[in-house]
């Protein structure tokens, strides 16, 4: 069972940079797991410690219950897909793909069969004799995946594998990689900074910031139940409204926003009387209408900007207390609003999240680097 366990792993570069800070994590057998976070958050370093390419300063790494801290990369039984593909330029596609079986001195016939099968899986068998410089970016990444699979490992580590590809190919390839991982019953850890990519293909996701893991959960949990302000902002998008708790009801808290606006929000551990809080509300959680509809949490405002984004329309609305909020509505169906139009926005308390106001300030908490 290729289960991966990390216990209190720390990696420093020099005296000042803590790339991975006391990370503990468990990746289950046959799970498609993603590590996401902004650039420089330590996700690639963490992946490379699992692969054995970086030695942790502290902590333990287990694969299949075996401590592998001192096991070299070639003996960890992993496949690794690099962002830059790292296809050997002096070998053709077939030799690249069969490199793993050959260096393990597997029988020539078996190596050839594996090479053929994996190339067929990634739909590149016809290009078996091409050299890397004759392939497109998408093809090179397919070959890189095939090479990692042909080595016969049950763990696949992917370091921003789609980062260098254009959007259309990226979308196609991400589902293809997931299909292969699931068909072959592999355990995969996928590093990306693209939250949409991680949401689309992962069973579970870990969100990292400054070397630490902030939250681990399914895509649904991270989107619907973010535990931290940074996660609420990094997974999807959120509006943040600052206020103070002025009342407590059964499932909701009453929060007074700037300009003495009172709204009801979902109760949380931050819901103490008089506590300074931040409400996170997703742009798509807002309703928008022209007049009052006697709903809870109605906020009057003026449309400042309208952006057509294809499937959605994005509105920037200045509400009466001078806070600005973003509202996203589907472009097909529903009303459209114009710039300078007076509107009313509303949201249901259960679609909001209440967080304690961060001690270092909201902007610092949301900083990506």
């Amino acid at each position: 069972m290729p289960e991966i366990q990390l216990k209190n792993v720390t990696k420093r570069f020099g005296k000042k940079i803590v790339a991975v800070d006391d990370v503990s994590l468990e990746v289950y057998d046959r799970e498609y797991f993603s590590l996401i976070g902004p650039s420089g958050c330590g996700k690639t370093t963490l992946l490379r410690t699992v692969a054995g390419l970086v030695k942790p300063d502290r902590g333990e790494i287990y694969i299949d219950g075996v401590l592998v801290n001192d096991v070299p990369p070639e003996d960890r039984g992993i496949g690794f897909v690099f962002q830059t593909y790292a296809l050997f330029p002096h070998m053709n596609v077939f030799d690249n793909v069969t490199y793993g079986p050959r260096v393990k001195a597997w029988e020539e016939k078996r190596a050839a069969r594996l090479g053929r099968e994996t190339l067929e899986m990634v739909k590149l068998y016809k290009r078996f004799d091409a050299y890397p410089n004759e392939l497109s970016g998408g093809m090179m990444q397919r070959v890189a995946v095939a090479r990692a699979l042909a080595a016969g490992s049950k763990i696949l580590l992917l370091d921003e594998p789609l980062g260098a590809l254009d959007a259309k190919i990226r979308n196609e390839l991400r589902y293809e990689i997931r299909r292969l991982v699931k068909d072959l019953e592999l355990t995969a850890i996928h590093v990306t900074h693209d939250q949409a990519e991680a949401m689309a293909i992962s069973d579970r996701i870990a969100v990292m910031k400054k070397g630490r893991i902030l939250q681990v959960g399914t895509p649904y949990e991270l989107y619907m139940e973010p535990q931290q302000i940074f996660v609420a902002n990094f997974i999807g998008e959120s509006n943040f409204l600052e206020g103070r708790v002025v009342g407590l009801k059964d499932d909701v808290v009453v929060v007074r926003l700037r300009g003495d606006l009172k709204v009801e929000a979902k109760k949380s551990e931050a819901s103490q009387e008089n506590e300074r809080v931040v409400l996170a509300i997703r742009p798509e959680a807002f309703e928008i209408s022209k007049g009052r509809r006697k709903l809870v949490n109605e906020l009057k405002g003026v449309v400042e900007k309208v952006r057509f984004e294809g499937t959605d329309i994005r509105y920037e609305i200045r509400i009466v207390n001078d806070d600005s909020i973003t509202v996203v509505r589907p472009s097909l169906g529903g009303d459209w609003f114009k710039e300078n139009e007076k509107v009313t926005v509303s949201f249901l308390p259960e679609k909001s999240h209440t967080f304690l106001y961060p001690p270092q300030g909201l902007m610092a908490e949301l900083e990506l680097e």
Binding site: G52, P72, P73, F82, F88, Y99, V103, A105, A151
Partner: protein, 546 residues
Amino acid sequence: MPRFKVTIFDELSSHRIITYVIYFCAIVFFFGLILIPPIFGIGLKWYLVGEMIENAELMSRAVNAILASFAIAIFVSIIDLVAGIPTAWFVARGKGRWLNIIDTLADLPFVVPTVALGYSLLLFWSEPQGVSSLFGSSLISPGWLLVILLHFVFSFPVIVRVMVGALFDYQRTFEEAARTLGASPFTVDRTVTFPILRPSLVGAFVLAFARSVSETGATIMVAGSFENGAIFVKNMKDMGQQGPLVFVSLVLILISCVIFGAILILGSRLRVPIRHVWPSIERRLSSKSVTITRDTLTMLVFFLLIIVPSLFVAFPAFTAVMDGTIGKAVSSSGIWQDYWSSLGLSYFVGGLATLLSIVAGLPMAIMIGRKRIGKSLSAILDILINIPIIVPSTALGASLGIFWTNFAFVPEIMLLILAHLSITYSYFVRSMAAAIERTDIELENAARIHGAKPFTVFRTIILPLTKYSLLAGAIMVLTRSVSETGATLAVVSQLRTVPVLLVDWVKGTAVQATSSDVGLGCGILVVLSFTVLLFLKLGVGRKSVY
């Protein structure tokens, strides 16, 4: 630069015709002064070869000398690769500040003028002051073995320098990918790293080979009665025998060009067998104990065969301080008067050759680096530029002398400058063309789009980004010129540069110099050369040297 000059140059550079005139002049300069006289000049006297063929004894001596030149060059280049690659690996892949010291020490034989190196090795291996004192007799007498040791020592830094640069440029992701696929470090090096670094390996081999075939001054010092091609040419010139001189020079030039062509063609086609892997053996070869043994052996060879013998010249130099020789040197009395004028001549010729190489070499480097005259023509120029480096300098000097004296009376100083220019120009162009090629062309395009004229683009983008390579190239050219002996011996009869003078001192042909005199003479040259290296290291920084 004053503003108005920039404007004039900008205006001129924006006319395409001016640019092409500059490129045309650079090509004429290259063919007219650098390539044709030193390479094809010898052909003007081809009829003298007849005399040589009739003299069986001389013929046999000439053939043996030529064979010795190439045999030593090939052998030395191979053992240099064997010893130099682990050293380069050690420097590029190791950790710790002290590796910088090893890295700088590896340059030592490169910077010490070869005559000083030759004298140092002679003292260390053959003279009573050296390691021979431990054995009671000369451990290695002057002859072919000492020539091999000498050539090994001065070609070694070429391999280390090229390979360290290549290893720094090399993307280690390839190695990491191979490791994650199950390859042991030894398998990775054999099947991935070496095949990818093959062009650098071939390049390093060619440079070490060329350096060995060309070297004359130091070889004369340690050769005893042994004769290779360069020494044969020098001996024939001393004896006034033009036939054998022309024959050997012609053959050396032809064979060098053929070998260079063969390496160019075969080097790109050579396939290292990488398909088969022996995991258990290769794993054992990757083990820590094997790695430690390899590194220890590498360092032993490095210090015992290269560094200590190279630095041994310091002993007589120190003796010179004690026994009053330094007083004679400072007061310029006796033989020292010649020394100082030779030193002045060496640096004058070196400085002028460097300046001319920069002025005439820059347009050529741009043409090659940016493929300004089309891909094919630029590629041809790129190959031709290597020929003066490949051709043995003695033959090159002989050919150049014959060419110019055949047409007109050319003063000896002019011949000397032209000979040095022929050798140094190619080193400079190669270094600059590579630097220009590495500079992203989009930077130039961006500057042009923002309104910069070609001259401003060169002044504000290309020059700042390649200034370190320019400086490094210039210093390399100056050092090479100051060390040069073979071509110098071939073109001069009156003038004496400092390496030629030191060879005379050691051989005792003209004057009787003591070992303190020679030691101090070499020491002064080494100190001056180190000042130049220090300037390079401080002004240019470690990275840009490559």
